[in-house]
């Protein structure tokens, strides 16, 4: 039999090896799943992991990678701060929606301005919208000790309802012949978030992700707030002894993660998505949770993990169109990644020992 034995020091090797092992295990068991569904597992794995970067349509799909990775990284960076502090914001999807709605509303309110400066208050409104939506679970937690996991998650569905209302009501395109959806930002250049280098897929959201990644790295490594975030997550009593006010930390971390999710929503709605529509959100807020853990809650890791996750998105879409796999199979595949990641993660703090007898 095997026994888990606590390591005196966390293993540095497994800290970095865990994501790699998890990806490999996901490929193996995902392959088994695809085989059971009657497709050739090797073709599927190649379609997901290889073709988007080196395949026939790579010239187009590589750009798609950054389009998908941008919001994932941006949201995951915000979430990772809270996760490190033991504050579980599961509702980034809702904050993403609210950021998009608020940011888009500011732009659409002054339609059709030609001043590019409008993009700045739009960014601010996007961040503010996400921040405000995250403040609801934060304040309920600090005032009434509610569970932020449940409240933030449930607010996602409220946000989706507001999104539907926005697309069919208060933000509906007056020239849209009655179709749901707002004006398209691609035909409103002053307020749009265009591709910065043609074919690269890089827009202002990607730039923001990299800049915020660098800031988050410095915050965690050097700043006292980063220290307090880590301390609160690892040893809550020691954090109070240090002088951390747990309520302030909840408000800070929920606010930051909400603001970043809101930013991601704003960049998405003004860029790749182009308009507020009923099905504007595609689950980035939830997938970013996987990205945050796959990246070890570390800013550099999250940037890499965001790219890998984007690969499964782009490759997964390819697999479902070319090979006829249901999109649910791809979601199971992505879920497996988190499952194996958390499972293998045990080895960072524990080692496996063979025990004699029973």
């Amino acid at each position: 039999m095997f026994r888990l034995e606590k390591r005196p020091n966390p293993s540095t090797f497994w800290l970095y090896a865990t994501p790699i092992v998890a990806v490999i295990l996901t490929m193996i068991f995902g392959g088994l799943l695809f085989a059971a569904m009657g497709t050739n597992p090797f073709t599927v794995i190649r379609t997901i992991f290889w073709d988007p970067v080196f395949g026939e349509f790579a010239f187009y799909l590589r750009g798609q990678l950054l389009v998908k990775a941008g919001p994932l990284i941006l949201i995951a960076l915000g979430l990772s701060l809270g996760f490190r502090a033991g504050i579980w914001n599961i509702g980034a999807e809702g904050q993403y929606i609210m950021g998009a709605i608020c940011g888009a509303a500011v732009g659409l309110a002054v339609y059709p301005t030609e001043s590019r400066l409008i993009f700045i208050p739009m960014i601010a409104a996007g961040a503010l919208g996400g921040w405000a939506w995250a403040m609801i679970p934060a304040i309920l937690k600090t005032r009434f000790n509610t569970n932020e996991i449940l409240v933030s998650l449930m607010l996602v569905y409220v946000a989706q309802t507001i999104l539907a209302k926005a697309a069919t009501g208060f933000l509906k395109n007056p020239e849209g012949m009655g179709f749901p959806g707002s004006r398209n930002f691609s035909s409103y250049p002053a307020a749009a978030n265009p591709e910065l280098i043609a074919g690269s897929g890089l827009h202002w959201g990607g730039v923001a992700a990299i800049v915020i990644g660098a800031l988050a790295y410095v915050l965690l490594a050097r700043h006292i707030i980063g220290f307090q975030i880590k301390l609160a997550g690892q040893a809550p009593r020691a954090a109070r002894f240090h002088g951390v006010n747990p309520n302030k930390l909840v408000v800070l971390c929920m606010g930051l993660s909400g603001a970043m999710a809101g930013l991601a929503g704003l960049f998405e709605v003004t860029g790749p998505a182009g308009q507020i529509s009923i099905d504007f959100n595609v689950g980035y807020g939830f997938t970013a949770i996987i990205v945050a853990f796959l990246g070890r809650l570390n800013p550099v890791g999250i940037i890499l993990a965001g790219l890998i996750m984007a690969l499964t998105y782009v490759g997964g879409e390819m697999a479902s169109t070319n090979l006829g796999l249901p999109s649910a199979a791809i979601q199971v595949f992505q879920g497996m990644l988190l499952f194996f990641l958390l499972g293998v993660d045990v080895l960072t703090n524990f080692r496996l020992r063979m025990t004699g007898g029973k």
Binding site: P8, P10, I224, F227, Q234, A235, A238, R240, F241, N245
Partner: protein, 513 residues
Amino acid sequence: MTSDRPLLLQVSAITKAYPGVIANQDVSFAIRQGEIHALLGENGAGKSTLVKMIYGLVKPDTGQMTWRGAPYAPTAPRMARAAGVAMVFQHFSLFEALNVAENVALGMENPPPMKTLAAKITQVSQAYGLPLDPARMVGDLSAGERQRVEIIRCLLQDPKLLIMDEPTSVLTPQEVDILFKTLRQLAAEGTAILYISHKLEEIRSLCDAATILRRGKVVGSADPKTSTARELAEAMVGATLTPPERAARRDWGGGPAALEVTGLCAASPIPFGTALKDVTFRVQRGEVLGIAGVAGNGQDELLLALSGEVRTAGTMVKSAGVEVGTLGPAERRKIGFVMAPEDRLGHAAAPDMSLVENAFLTGGVRRGLVKNGFIDWPAAGDFADAIIKAYDVRTPGSHVAARALSGGNLQKFVIGRELSQSPDVIVINQPTWGVDAAAAAAIRQAILDRAEAGAAVVVISQDLDELLEIADNFAVLNGGRLTAPRPVQGLTIDQIGLMMGGAHGMEVAHVSA
């Protein structure tokens, strides 16, 4: 006196190595039936590993044991219990929300029906002078009563060998007397007792034989009845001990108070905790106030209220005339407070963080390690290295995680961290808990040095000898209330025991809430 009795357990040439450390090397000793045998040694000397091997929790690398002449190699505590070995651990494994009988049943292989068991518990507890009501909730019991639950759980198995790990650390002097009476009665009936303690006076009064361990090896055996405590301690640490030095005790009249606590009331943030009720005392610069009391009488809560983790009305805690009751820990450090809570791992230090990060944990404010919100990690590293050096913390370096240190070494680090911040007010809960004799002496000396340098010191401890050694004034926490502090000079252990039992003047009519 017991040397003619038959051998019960013979341990021969046992060695057990862990990665990087040899816990036991070539250890041999023997216990006879009905003998009370002391196992003496500093922290890290290998006592725990040795008894864990006897109890089947750890398997020796080499060497063998014989039990009544037959080979004995338990691979699980279940096998040790079947042979007749029972153990009372230092940290109790009891469920607070269950009653005594239910807790006892949980530790048994085949528990009898609850009614039979309750009757049996009552019977055994009376037979051995350990009063205990089987129907009471463990959460409501004192530490001494909880220990009785553990002991009775062992006695119900009718053990031939009872292992007791530091059993008196949580008991009042009166409770210690009751325990010793029970242990002597057990020994007289033929049960051998392996008694682990660092309290040498107890070993001298209780034990028939002693085996002394140092750094994993047996360095000798002694007859505790004929050796002095000092001889035993020196054999244990392999060095000559010097009691802490300090200037003659002064009379602390009505000088200005560096720390003044007035009518402090605070609800406990801890489940099953004790609320503080009207606690009042004052400490001057240079004075050491010792606060005694059995665990769970408000010690943790008092530390939290003094550290700022629990906030009160401003006037309840004052420092040099300034109200600080509403300030948090960081703000109190700014005005000269340092604090060391009892629980090292998780409260005083973050287990998974390095010693550098843990040095910064409380040292950041007073050592000026934060500039514009950014942490000066190289300076924090220097601070950690300085603590490690000055307080003889045994560690491969300041980069290791706090949880990798032994309890005693981490305690030296925590105390060193606090005392190295040139404090004005020092509050320490259990300064030498689980620390070996040499390190404990060093810690006490360091505390006295800070007092000499002008700090006001509050030491909360369950070790009476320690308090009597270093304190100028003495008070007892009991049910969340503090007795009026009295000068240590002239106090007898008996008077203190009565203070701890609640029989002090102002408390006669007190009904615990």
